[in-house]
Amino acid sequence: MEKTMNLTLRVWRQKNRLDVGKFVEYKLENISEDSSFLEMLDILSEQLVEGGHEPVAFDHDCREGICGMCSMTINGVPHGPEGGITACQLHMRHFHDGQIITIEPWRAKPFPVIKDLVVDRTAMDKIIQAGGFITGRAGSAVDANAMPIDKQTADYAMDAAACIGCGACVAACPNASAMLFTAAKVAHMNSLPQGKAEKNRRSLAMVTTMDGEGFGGCTNIGECEAACPKGIPLDMIAQLNRDYALAQVKNFFQPVL
């Protein structure tokens, strides 16, 4: 038979960007262990609406771990303590009856809180806009098989491209560094032959924007990697460091930007 549990939630409530915000405690009863974490929050919402209160605002969309929209820190860990999954993939069977669960928004200066658990992550889009693309105007492409790519390279690019842009890496990092995210993008595009032409520009432009948006630097401690739902490894940051350094050397002798 289905098991249920009673929980105490401590949720960050903040009306808008300017509000100071605070934790509010809620009691929930009879939550099925088969529910997902977000379904549990849906139940809380319904309960609040019934009482005429505003529900907790949180971002979510696909609810299957791919859109990267859901974003909350659960008991101190972005996306929750299970690891390797997003908050929407987390299920209540990993919690126990009577547990107190603390839910906080992503914490980072470049991610201002919009409301409750909803933060503004457009800074990540800006990094992409600076250089996270391979220019290929529609209509200008050669045949897809004209350029064979060895499987190892293709697989590596795919590993990097698996990033869903959720920002958990930033949220987990005590420095709010966006290195893992930026590195995943750079590693994906710089390692493919198609991406070589813009490699140096890309590395320089994306890092400059990343710093400019107010993300912190990397201290190589790996919290990002542990929080990342898609298993993006620190290797990619090493590659970013390398590609950036080489681009700087190039740029010193012959400006590329």
Partner: protein, 647 residues
């Protein structure tokens, strides 16, 4: 309503090229004088916005998520079709065309489908050039797989994340244009209405979802690529925010809505676990390559399994009904989606369903593991098994998976002509939002293809043609100062005020759930005249209740998910009724639309080609008036209509 499909003259193979030649061009220097509004940043919208900006047009792009990269295209797992014939296994543009028409149960427009097949190759080239990391073989060339029962291997894929990788490609191109200032991106903005000036679509009204501000946007034309309406069923594999609002608003302003009853139900989803569920999860169709679908032969066994008294593994072989293999010996477990889904429903209706709700059947890997070894199965499906275990807590290596059909895709949508222009001039519709090229049923891996075909290779031409026809003198002439904008804006605001002021007792979510129940029961996998008539009545009553008793907490001038949902549910309510009307009108069974009155003796769908070879296009006539039906006859010059058989 004018349903001129504008199919170009000439033989099928040269229609698109001669049409491109005949189009009006806009001088590159003049393009910057035009402003195109694109609503949606999925494969269709993202690709269109990026391509139009690359050509030199100024573009404003809107999406309701916090980033264009999160459009629901991202969730597609399986792959994308293209007639590359890299496998040398007999594929061709013609075959892809033919398969798509047949798969759609002969309810799609030939010329459009042919064009889709024609540009499919270009899509793959384009995506690879953008760095989409498709799977490759050791030799370095692209890998393909056979998908959804196709007899050739024409599906390109990127692990289980094809949609995400394709969308990231389009998003990257779009981002470049945003960075260059050619595209102005409006994240977290929801389109709530279309503005027409002199009959042409010239703008939209949007709500800033953070500040609640309602704003007017004018352009020289509008492209809608707002995705499908599967969420009318409340539970579906769609993202939470997927909605019909944009399309339905356009419909109310004069765009014909075609074939709303064509919905696709995917057979391999994880069953519903209880009434708190918010979303259904798709398990890749590829699982059916090795898994065997079964249910207990008798009800008593099924009951014991449901109550947890009997373990599925202990059910002896002769007490199992491998119903797909039994009914469709030649296709077996790989029978097409609509057919497999219906077969599962029959079993459950028969009282032999499993899972706590009785709404589920087994997908069993026991034999495959015994045959190929656990390792081989792990190699093939490891991450899917993990995903299943993550959601259900069961280990599919040890106990059989449970699956049940769920709403997945909607073939219906706004009617468009060959140029993807709706019945509102200047309003183009791409991707899942249009009534598309899939007829009454979509083949696996063809939606991504269609979205990108529309976005990269069709809209950039046909939008340019429209703008060229309008002439450069007209460019940028309509501004938001035009009184039409204020009028529509007032409507939008009025509606929001109304929603906020009802102050009833029931949440929008609860209404949505109730609507979902009605349409799933009566306009889902099997539909009947009586059921549909009831459904229409029930929806009307529910709609009335909604406008009297909905409770929207919070306020309108800040982020308010309740208000967002309320607006969407209000549109779903009206749309749900339209969907049922369409299903009622279509007195035949075809593709995803199954009318119990129209089946063969052994329960297979029975088409009525004589009377229903048309697209049913609905014209909005007023809130209290029955919509008017128009028909676009479908003329088949190149394929012969035959009965689909998978036996």
């Amino acid at each position: 309503m004018n349903l001129d499909s504008k199919i170009p003259e000439g033989p099928l193979e040269s229609k698109w090229s001669s049409h491109k030649f005949n189009m009006k061009l806009v001088n590159p220097a003049n393009r910057r004088k035009y402003h195109v509004i694109v609503v949606g940043s999925g494969l269709a919208g993202g690709a269109a916005a990026a391509s139009l900006a690359e050509q030199g047009y100024n573009v404003s792009c809107f999406c309701y998520q916090d980033s264009p990269r999160r459009a629901h295209s991202i969730a597609a797992q399986g792959g994308i079709n293209a007639a590359k014939n890299y496998q040398n296994d007999g594929d061709s543009v013609k075959r892809l065309f033919y398969d798509t028409v047949k798969g759609g149960d002969y309810r799609a427009r030939e010329a459009n489908v042919y064009r889709l097949a024609e540009v499919s190759s270009d899509i793959i080239d384009q995506c690879v050039a953008q760095g989409v990391p498709f799977a490759r073989e050791y030799g370095g060339y692209l890998a393909n797989r056979s998908f959804g029962g196709a007899q050739v291997s024409r599906t390109f894929y990127a692990r289980g994340q094809t949609g995400q990788q394709l969308l990231l490609g389009a998003y990257a191109a779009l981002s470049k244009q945003i960075g260059l200032g050619k595209v102005k991106m409006y994240n977290r903005h929801e389109m709530l209405d279309v503005v027409k000036v002199d009959g042409h679509a010239k703008g939209i009204i949007v709500r800033n979802m953070i500040s609640g501000e309602i704003s007017k946007h004018a352009g020289d034309c509008v492209v809608l690529a707002t995705g499908g309406y599967g969420n009318v069923f409340f539970l579906s594999t769609n993202a939470q925010g997927c909605n019909v609002t944009a399309a339905y608003r356009a419909h109310k302003r004069g765009a014909g809505f075609a074939n709303p009853c064509y919905t696709q139900i995917h057979p391999t989803c994880i069953p519903v676990h209880g009434d708190q569920q918010s979303k259904l999860t798709l398990m890749s169709e590829s699982l059916r390559n090795d898994g065997r679908v079964w249910a207990p032969k008798d009800k008593e066994t099924a009951k014991q399994i449901r109550e947890g008294k009997l373990n599925a593994n202990d059910v002896p072989e002769d007490a199992r009904d491998y119903f797909l293999e039994r009914k469709y010996p030649s296709f077996g477990n790989l029978a097409p989606r609509d057919i497999s889904s219906r077969a599962a429903k029959e079993v459950c209706d028969d009282g032999r369903g499993i899972a706590t709700t009785g709404l589920g059947v087994f997908l069993d890997f026991r034999d495959a593991i015994a045959r190929d070894g656990k390792h081989a199965i792990e190699e093939r499906y490891g991450n899917l098994f993990e995903m299943y275990e993550c959601i259900t807590g069961d280990n599919p290596y040890e106990t059989p998976m449970m699956i049940f059909p769920a709403v997945h895709y909607t073939m219906g949508g706004l009617w468009v002509d060959y140029n993807l222009e709706s019945t509102i001039p200047g309003m183009f519709v791409g991707g899942e939002a249009n009534f598309s090229d899939h007829g009454a049923n979509r083949l696996g891996a063809s939606a991504l293809m269609q979205g990108l075909a529309d976005g990269y290779f069709v809209l950039p031409y046909t939008v340019g043609n429209y703008l060229g026809e309008q002439g450069v003198a007209a460019a940028g002439q309509v501004t938001t100062d035009h009184p039409a904008f204020a009028e529509v804006e007032a409507d939008v605001k009025g509606r929001i005020d109304k929603l906020m002021s009802i102050n009833g007792t029931e949440s929008p979510r609860s209404f949505h759930k109730r609507l979902g129940n009605i349409v799933w029961e009566k306009c889902g996998m099997a539909r009947s005249k009586a059921g549909l008539e009831e459904a229409i009545q029930e929806i009307q009553a529910l709609k009335k209740e909604f406008w009297e008793n909905v409770r929207v907490v919070g306020d309108a001038d800040s982020l308010n998910p309740e208000l967002e949902r309320a607006g969407r549910v209000a549109d779903f309510l009206e749309f749900g009724e339209l969907m049922c009307r369409d299903a009622l009108m279509r007195e035949e069974s075809c593709g995803g639309h199954f009318r119990v009155e129209h089946q063969t003796d052994d329960g297979e769908a029975k088409r009525d080609d004589e009377n229903f070879t048309f697209a049913g296009v609905w014209e909005y006539k007023g809130d209290e008036t029955v919509p008017a039906l128009h028909k676009e006859p479908l003329i088949y010059e190149n394929v012969k209509l035959v009965t689909r058989s998978y036996k």
